[in-house]
């Protein structure tokens, strides 16, 4: 108990000293307002124009075979995949 107590006191004191020196009290400057949307999104209406066009498509496109194969950056991730691959 003794040695860890000393270590803790050193660590906490060190923390206080370091932070006082650098002058960066916990850097969080919160300027968030209520109702701010996540970056790139604006709630449910973000794509209202695009969507109402897309929504007018009369044909319900079923999945094509090419949709069933991942084609993104996963192809660049090396290493072994699950045995089921291929």
């Amino acid at each position: 108990m003794q040695s860890s107590t000393k270590l803790i006191i050193t660590a906490v004191s060190g923390l206080l000293a370091l932070v006082t020196l650098s002058g960066t009290a916990s850097a969080a400057e919160n300027e968030k307002c209520f109702g701010v949307a996540k970056a790139g999104q604006n709630g449910c209406n973000s794509n209202a124009n695009k969507r109402s066009c897309a929504g007018h498509a009369k044909i319900d496109n079923g999945p094509n075979d090419f949709m069933l194969t991942p084609k993104g950056s996963c192809l660049k991730i090396g290493g072994k995949l699950a045995p089921a691959a291929k």
Partner: protein
């Protein structure tokens, strides 16, 4: 009244599952048949949910590509109807879904990525925590330091895959260099101001932090961690977590 509810449920099934609508529904548009009107409604419903999932799962979108993601979200949307008026709540079951989704089985790390991205979503919308009051900490007598109980705002996720690296490689400007064989990862999700961060935790730091999260005293958590990881550096960890906004406050254990 029951009849009205029945009609609403039938309408919901028509939109979500593609079943027939009630013959009692009529359209007021001259140029649209009922089928086309319902199809437009359904496409808008799916489109909004697809966009919500795109916002919640940007890394998965990049991992599998647009077409696969569109098919994936369409399947998810068919299986999990939206139950909240807030679209930011939509998508919580993605990890469970991906575990079972046959076309995704070749990418075994995908469910873990989904857990991480949903955790980021939760962190993004979490209520603001106060900044850590260092000035008040300075007033605590040194001999009381081991009795401090630290308050945290973060999530710790363990994965058998290099989860942190996968996430970081898909942030804007990053170059994708990941080897799946590089092994497991402990991801720390935190938020500084409005930015959600994902960083890698060492075993020692994770051991300590998880004890702090369940409100062990600083003394107990540190002792237990040192017993398992003799090279644990408390001071470095405290400073790093403070800078990341993980530490939000403290109190003294009342009984000692």
């Amino acid at each position: 009244m029951t009849e009205y509810t029945d009609e609403l449920n039938r309408f919901m099934r028509a939109i979500v599952q593609g079943t027939d609508v009630s013959p009692q529904i009529d359209t007021i548009y001259q140029n649209y048949s009922l089928d086309i009107a319902i199809e437009i409604y359904r496409n808008n419903y799916r489109g909004n949910l697809h966009d919500a999932l795109t916002g919640a799962y940007p890394v998965i979108l990049q991992l599998v590509g647009d077409e696969f993601f569109r098919y994936l979200t369409r399947s998810y949307i068919g299986q999990y109807p939206s139950v909240s008026a807030n679209l930011y709540h939509y998508g919580e079951q993605m990890s469970v879904f991906l575990q079972e989704f046959p076309p995704a089985q070749a990418l075994p790390y995908l469910p873990d990525v989904a857990v991480l991205e949903w955790t980021c979503q939760i962190a993004y919308f979490a209520t603001d925590e106060p900044n850590f009051a260092l000035d008040k900490l300075a007033l605590i007598p040194a001999e009381q330091h081991p009795n401090l109980i630290l308050h945290t705002a973060c999530h710790v996720l363990r994965s058998n895959y290099p989860l942190t690296a996968i996430w970081q490689a898909h942030q804007p400007g990053a170059d994708i260099q990941i080897n799946l064989a590089s092994g497991g990862s402990i991801a720390l999700v935190s938020r500084l101001a409005n930015i959600v961060q994902v960083s890698e935790l060492s075993e020692a730091d994770a051991c300590w932090l998880q004890r702090i999260q369940v409100r062990d005293t600083l003394g107990l958590a540190t002792e237990a961690t040192l017993a398992l990881h003799p090279d644990f550096n408390l001071q470095a960890t405290l400073l790093a977590l403070l800078k990341q906004g993980v530490l939000t406050g403290f109190h003294l254990e009342s009984t000692s």
